[in-house]
């Protein structure tokens, strides 16, 4: 069904486009300023050699930053009409979705790379427990992939990038916050809604606990969002 070559060609083109336009640099700069400031503003007050406060805020920051990364993936193509050219090239719709998704995810991973310097700094200051750090970064990649898939789906809905950004942000933000507002809900539904919360699963992995339930949650969220994006562009025909 998939031709790896086609996916790679689309992936390369999309990733290259991020870096030939100013978007990549602006988004990475904003991300680093936000995370750096939130992390170091309290770091020396607590005097703990850990990255917990960085990972605590990451889902919220991701729910704003990732939709900004993914908003152009389909919307821009719909808007300028290049989508017509893309679809009439010999690539399948699923290959297009997958190539764009991979480009977005790799971009998010590249955005995380400079934050490794926080871990290294903290490592020099004292005894850093690397377990939660490794778990946190793994979780961040899984979370990033899931949010990228959601953002990609949002982008496939409209040719307006701003609307794509807002839809993506609302969905990501809801997924992050849903387990924080459980006190509004009847007790019988708590478990279900807690399981839906992206932050709940992310904080588990960020403690250094690798639970298959959390991994399956992120992978299935990614898959569902990609599948919806694929259905959406099939229906467009």
């Amino acid at each position: 069904m998939f031709m790896a070559g086609n996916v790679i060609n689309i992936f390369k083109k999309e990733l290259r486009t991020y870096f030939t336009t100013p978007i990549a640099y602006i988004v990475i700069a904003i991300f680093l300023v936000l995370t750096g400031w939130f992390f170091f503003s309290t770091f020396f007050l607590f005097g703990q050699t850990e990255l917990r406060s960085f990972f605590t805020l990451l889902p919220i920051i991701f729910s704003f930053v990732i939709p900004a990364v993914t908003m152009r993936l389909f919307s821009e193509e719909f808007n300028i009409g290049s989508y017509e050219i893309l679809v009439t090239l010999p690539v399948s719709l699923n290959e297009i979705v997958l190539g764009k998704f991979l480009a977005g995810t790799v971009f998010v991973a590249m955005m995380l790379v400079p934050t490794l310097s926080y871990a290294i700094c903290v490592g020099f200051l004292g005894q850093l427990d690397w377990g939660p750090v490794v778990g946190g970064y793994l979780g961040a990649l899984l979370l990033g992939a899931a949010f990228t898939a959601v953002g990609l789906f949002a982008s496939s809905l409209t040719k307006n990038q701003i609307i794509a950004f807002i839809i993506g942000m609302i969905v990501c933000f809801t997924l992050t916050m849903v387990d924080k507002v459980l006190f509004f809900l009847p007790e019988s539904m708590l478990g279900f809604f807690q399981f839906l919360g992206a932050d709940y699963h992310f904080q588990n992995t960020a403690k250094g606990i690798l639970d298959s339930r959390d991994i399956i949650y992120f992978l299935s969220a990614t898959f569902i969002a990609l599948y919806m994006a694929s259905l959406r562009i099939q229906e467009k025909q």
């Binding site: 009409g81 399948s92 025909q237």
Partner: protein
């Protein structure tokens, strides 16, 4: 080569294509003519697999577009209207990307891009960003994109719109060269373009095919108005009318007007008979000077207007 049978496409309630059937042979240059909104672009989009038909079938090169869309897309080069290319890419990067997606091997790629650069005249703009290009250059990059894999079928949606006259002639020449071996389908509403480039013309109106044939066939088949235009010096209008009216085959002798003693007439004729010999013979008997003697067929434009006008 391409078989279209009973193709219908709705946009909501609007019927854009209405039971279209068409068979296109290898090596044909087919011009798709029609007023705006007639369904030209919709038809091309279905052929290229961008849109799915509401009902009906398309097969190309023996593959059905429902079942093997990717196989068909390999054979088709497509230039959409307005050449909507990625704005942020350099021309060279863009062609490179298209070559990669088209599965052209690394060794052949450089050579192929160089060939297309020559054919489409892109050498000056290879390292410019696409959004900087003028419309004409963008159109040429789009053409290079469509021809990248040397496709068996080339589909061009209004390929010459927005170009200057020199560029139009260049692109027509390219199309004619390609059309010797490959099948070319182009849509346009410029009638002279069809006459200049196409072997076959299909006129569609409101989603239906209203005419199909070579330009010559179209001109003959419709209720043809055929006329001789003559201009005479030293003649009297009434004399000319009495002289020529009896000629069999002339329906009407119409005086168009006089300037500087030159009288212009239009002889509206039946198509069945060639009366030029007889008319010339009659005029020669008199002491008139014959300044102009031309025959005029009904133009494609008139046929087009008749077939597509609001009824």
């Amino acid at each position: 080569m391409i078989e279209i049978s009973d193709l219908t496409r709705y946009y909501g309630d609007l019927r854009a294509l209405d039971h279209i059937s068409l068979s296109i042979k290898r090596g044909e240059i087919l011009g798709l003519l029609g007023p705006n909104g007639a369904g030209k672009t919709t038809l091309l989009r279905i052929l290229t697999g961008y849109l799915a038909p509401t009902s009906g079938a398309v097969t190309a090169m023996g593959f059905s577009i429902d079942e093997k869309p990717l196989e068909i897309k390999k054979f088709i080069g497509y230039l959409p209207e307005e050449a909507p290319l990625y704005k942020d890419m350099l021309v060279y990067d863009y062609l490179n990307y298209v070559a990669a997606v088209r599965g052209i091997t690394r060794e052949r790629k450089t050579r192929r891009i160089r060939e297309l650069t020559d054919i489409c005249g892109l050498s000056e703009i290879m390292h410019r960003s696409i959004h900087e290009l003028s419309k004409g250059y963008k159109q040429r990059v789009g053409l290079a994109h469509a021809m990248m894999s040397d496709p068996e079928i080339l589909i061009l949606d209004e390929p010459t719109s927005g170009l200057d006259p020199n560029q139009i002639v260049e692109i027509r020449d390219i199309i004619k060269v390609i059309g010797k071996e490959k099948t070319v389908i182009l849509s346009t509403h410029i009638l002279s373009e069809v006459e200049a480039t196409c072997d076959r013309v299909v006129i569609i109106n409101k989603g239906r095919i209203v005419a199909d044939g070579s330009t010559a066939e179209l001109k003959q088949s419709s209720e043809l108005e055929y006329a001789l235009n003559i201009t005479l010096k030293g003649a009297e209008g009434q004399d000319v009318k009495t002289l020529l009216s009896p000629v069999e085959g002339i329906k009407e002798v119409r005086e168009l007007g006089a300037t500087n003693g030159e009288l212009a007439f239009r002889l509206v004729c039946d198509t069945a008979k060639d009366i030029r010999d007889e008319v010339y013979g009659k005029i020669k008997q008199r002491d008139w000077i014959l300044l102009e003697f031309t025959q005029e067929y009904k133009s494609l434009e008139k046929i087009f207007r008749e077939l597509t006008k609001e009824s």
